[in-house]
Amino acid sequence: MSLSPQQKQELDDRWIDTLLNESYHPTTPIEEARWSQLQATLDRESKSIEPNAQWYHLQRWAFGVIAASILVLLGYNLFVTNQHKDAFAAVERCEAARLVPQEYRFQMTQQAPLGRTRRVNAKLYLDGRGRFVVEHPGWLGLEPLWIGGDSKSRWIVPRMGPAIKGGETLIGGWLARRDIPSPYLHLQTTLDRLKQAYQLELLDAGADTDSVRASEPHLATCQRVRGTIRSQRTNLPTSIELWIEKDSGLARRVIVRWERNPEDRGPLLWQLDDVGPCDKQDDFFTLEGHIEPSRRVLDIQQEQQLKTVEIES
């Protein structure tokens, strides 16, 4: 431990200072309130995990009954269940590591009508506290369009006209109709959905040459998790894949795939690739960080207001 005597002295001073405050003003009653708040959060987390736990138990029971007559099937199903559990644990590890501010290269392959595809290269910034910002080149590629938000809110700064902000449901819905399903820009939401609605399996990280090139040896040592949608709901991606760094739990690559009829439009494939730590300041993750103070901001509270919004970018 390489601290100078002066540094140690300063740290000791802070330490004694804190202990003296604690000694004269114990925080027990405040601690209880804090604990209740934590307990409520943990309860919510437990509930989101519970259905999966029940599913495991049900599967195991069902397998046990079938085993009497179909041993081969039992072996196969147990393998799948264990695969799911291991992959689930890997996703949870990734979830716990999401605190790191990170920047991703973000490639969107969109399907236009008549089966045409279009690729858009954007950047995604995560602040590690649940906020994201996308630097989108704009639908016409003239000037960047900024999209940001967190689990509850969204904002958009177009090239021209007023910026808009509002709740995740309203603005998120508006973005989704313009082929940007913003929940998948919020890593926490992606991980939550992956755990809840997808059958998970662990794959060999370096095996698929379509997804991992020889120039990407860092991915070969990751844990690779693939989630396949359990029920075919047309608005959800059919698969989500994660490459999770073994040591840190960091998501090094995320691939989200949708299946579409040729006549439909919408996202086909999104690929996020970790570029490195994000060193953006706090205000970069706010709407105010991307507009002049004089610029008009529409605070959208109702669906009706969105009908009057035309974003030009």
């Binding site: 431990m1 390489s2 601290l3 540094q7 140690k8 740290l11 000791d12 001073d13 802070r14 330490w15 004694i16 200072d17 804190t18 202990l19 003296l20 405050n21 604690e22 000694s23 004269y24 114990p26 925080t27 027990t28 601690e31 804090r34 604990w35 708040q37 934590l38 959060t41 943990l42 987390e45 949870e92 979830e95 716990a96 605190l99 790191v100 501010p101 602040d127 590690g128 506290r129 730590p277 060193d279 300041q281 706090d282």
Partner: protein, 178 residues
């Protein structure tokens, strides 16, 4: 015992010490609350990785240190301690307190209260006015008829004496090198 039950017991026991650790690291009340919550959530998710043969406090504060370093990276203007060595040093200091007799942090701090009674009267008076009555050095100076500088020096000396006294008490139980 199930891991989650174990978590609740250990985390409740360690919650006040974690809070003190965060305050010593320079967190204001709001930041300490945020980091405290985040640390507990991560610890809850990772409780299966906790080695039960080792003490829980340093493990929990190790998680808190990583959270703090993340906060510090993002908000450089916050006066937080964000380097690993300093946080590790504070973690060990907190672990020293955990070696003292008592079940709760408040009980363990009886050792510090004993040390306060051993201070010279003029230093003890300053400590009580500063920490019990929350007076700033100027207010203390006005109360006892001393200059602000003299009060600050007295507080520094008092804290040095308290540190030495606490170290003696810790050494009497178990030696944990810093």
């Amino acid at each position: 015992m199930e891991s989650r039950d174990l978590f609740e017991i250990l985390a409740r026991e360690q919650a006040p010490a974690l809070r003190s650790f965060l305050r010593a690291a320079g967190c204001d009340h709001a930041t300490a609350d945020d980091v405290w919550q985040e640390t507990m959530l991560i610890a809850w998710r990772r409780i299966d990785e906790f080695d039960r043969s080792r003490p829980f406090g340093p493990w929990l504060r190790g998680i808190a240190s990583r959270v703090l370093m993340g906060v510090r990276r993002k908000q450089a203007k916050l006066e937080l301690i964000g380097d690993e060595n300093s946080l590790e040093y504070l973690n060990r200091r907190m672990h020293q307190i955990e070696q003292l007799p008592g079940d709760t942090l408040d009980e363990k701090l009886h050792a510090l209260r004993d040390c306060i009674t051993l201070l010279p009267a003029h230093e003890r008076e300053c400590v009580e006015l500063r920490y019990q009555q929350d007076l700033m050095p100027q207010g203390i100076g006005e109360r006892i008829g001393s200059s602000v500088e003299a009060v600050k020096k007295r507080l520094v000396r008092a804290k040095q004496h308290l540190l030495e006294c606490l170290e003696r008490k810790v050494s009497a139980d178990v030696r944990y090198p810093v």
